[in-house]
Symmetry: C2
């Protein structure tokens, strides 16, 4: 199986769009960007053993490789359109590639994203994706727009992916399960959040025009909030006890461990954003339309940095700020 | 040195352009594609030990990582504009990154390409670049446009990069050098062609509207011509003795070895294109304007496949069709 056979195998399965003038198979792809729209470009790489556990199912790797990029577009309020894929494989394995594409293309098709080119090559397992989307000029939601008095919101639940990783690494649960089946169900639910994150594409699009600043929670909530605070020249205070948690998380780890996972665990790919309180009702309607849970977790203040309090007002100190590559 | 410090180190050095609305530092970049232009997207990865010898200077790796992508845009006749970079490093090494950027940004600045985002992460040394350019609708030069009767042209010289790699691997020269300094000069010249390929950006732009089909010579001339022949539904016949060779190549390897390197060696990143004979004079003027040597090496015929002849008309059989990943 040579490189060109792999490319043909991929090309045979991809969907196209009317704005793709030329897709896979030439030196480069040709695209027609809708008139008057700005182009939005994100690029993220997953390396084996760093961004997913060795032994992760290839379909899950495929899903996640695209999901983390669509999440970046969502955090800008952009509508995704096209992506490119660079696949480095230790050896050409058609079954692996087929399974990888099962996950990758399932997510691509769900969001009408066309895979329009890339590269397949030999090397340690690594997947690099560039995702392209569009947004109306002036409507992109950046990190630097938070204003004093804004509410801080987060979508979905936090800490699940990090809890799934902790369980995979062998960390014992703190909370007793009713039976082995319950434990397995909790573990599966947490692991799904690690392996199959849901990019909040529709919510991100709905927030354009409502939110002042937005980021996706990839490095851990506190680390990502720190990016917004620094870029916006403001302070952010959150209530650690207000952070949304899933039932499987509470059924696995005790209260303080949950707080740490929620505040500093990475890989959740939820959207964290700030918005003026006057938009709260419209934001809640948008979230309901997208069937996404939203929680208000804090507020933007004058100053700098991120402060965390418990619901009794006492300060809460995170043992670490979040996931840091190369740390 | 954490990931964010590396990103800051990169951001501090990159140039920008008026059409970059938002560059490095957010979840995604925002770009203003010029009105009426099509977007052209190429993505290529370099893995250590596969696409460059271990021990290659980081500045050369940086140059080449961008060059191979600009070469893809050039082969489409596109004007380059922006790029993203994903850098996987075994450990965060600021000196390595600085040297890498020396090469990467030297080429980027020479072509006014803005680095607008990407990813830095831990993993085996791997560099993935996505290059973005623009082209007027209908003017992109594809692989599938070759027509019967077209001349086949190639830019620059062929086989140098493969000869440089062969020398690095320890292959003995066939041709005696005048002295050790001459040998060293030849080796350096060949190695430079491997490490610092010149993307034919200006030539590619000039060919839009003149050439019917174009490809960059990355996998080896015969392999790349086969892509044009197959995509265009035509046969291509070339004269192996017409293939352009550099003086250092002739000063290193004997005639038959040179032929093999020229016809099947990869990594030259010259442009190979077909064009109607009536455009020959205009093409030669364009090449002169770009200060690039051009050579007519063959013709497009009815049929399929690539045939190679010597200048006496006898068929010439390549020992292999070109570089094949995973082979």
């Amino acid at each position: 199986m040579a490189e060109f056979d792999l490319i043909e195998r991929i090309r045979a399965r991809v969907a196209t769009r009317a704005d793709v003038v030329l897709g896979i198979g030439d030196d480069a792809a040709l695209l027609q960007v809708p008139a008057g729209m700005q182009l939005v470009v994100a690029m993220d790489t997953l390396n084996a053993g760093v961004h997913f556990p060795e032994g992760t199912a290839p379909a899950d790797i495929g899903w996640k490789a695209l999901a983390v990029n669509l999440s970046d577009l969502a955090a800008m309020g952009a509508a995704p359109a096209w992506c490119t894929l660079s696949l480095s494989l230790p050896q050409p394995d058609a079954r692996w590639v087929d399974a990888f594409l099962d996950g990758f293309l399932a997510l691509a098709d769900a969001h009408r994203v066309a895979l329009i080119g890339g590269d397949t090559t030999r090397g340690p397992l690594s997947i690099c994706v560039t995702a392209h989307g569009v947004v109306e000029p002036g409507r992109a939601v950046r990190r630097d727009g938070a204003r004093i008095g804004d509410d801080v919101w987060v979508s979905g639940t936090l800490g699940d992916a990090a809890a799934g990783l902790a369980r995979w690494r062998g960390d014992a649960p703190d909370v007793e399960a009713a039976d082995a089946a319950s434990r397995a169900a909790h573990d599966t639910a947490l692991r799904m959040r690690l392996d199959r994150p849901t990019p909040r594409v529709a919510l991100g699009g709905a927030l354009a025009g409502l939110a002042h600043a937005c980021i996706d929670v990839s490095d851990g909530l506190l680390a990502d909030l720190a990016h917004i605070a620094r870029a916006s020249g403001a302070a952010i205070e959150i209530d650690v006890d207000a952070l949304p948690a899933s039932d499987p998380l509470h059924a696995t780890f005790a209260r303080e461990r949950c707080r740490v996972l929620q505040a500093t665990g990475g890989d959740d790919y939820e959207l964290c954003f700030t918005a003026p309180p006057r938009h709260a009702a419209e934001i809640e309607r948008a979230a309901a339309d997208c069937a996404v849970r939203l929680t208000r977790i804090g507020r933007v203040h004058a100053g700098s940095g991120v402060r965390v309090r418990c619901n009794d007002g006492a300060p809460w100190a995170a043992p670490r700020a979040g996931y840091v590559h190369f740390a």
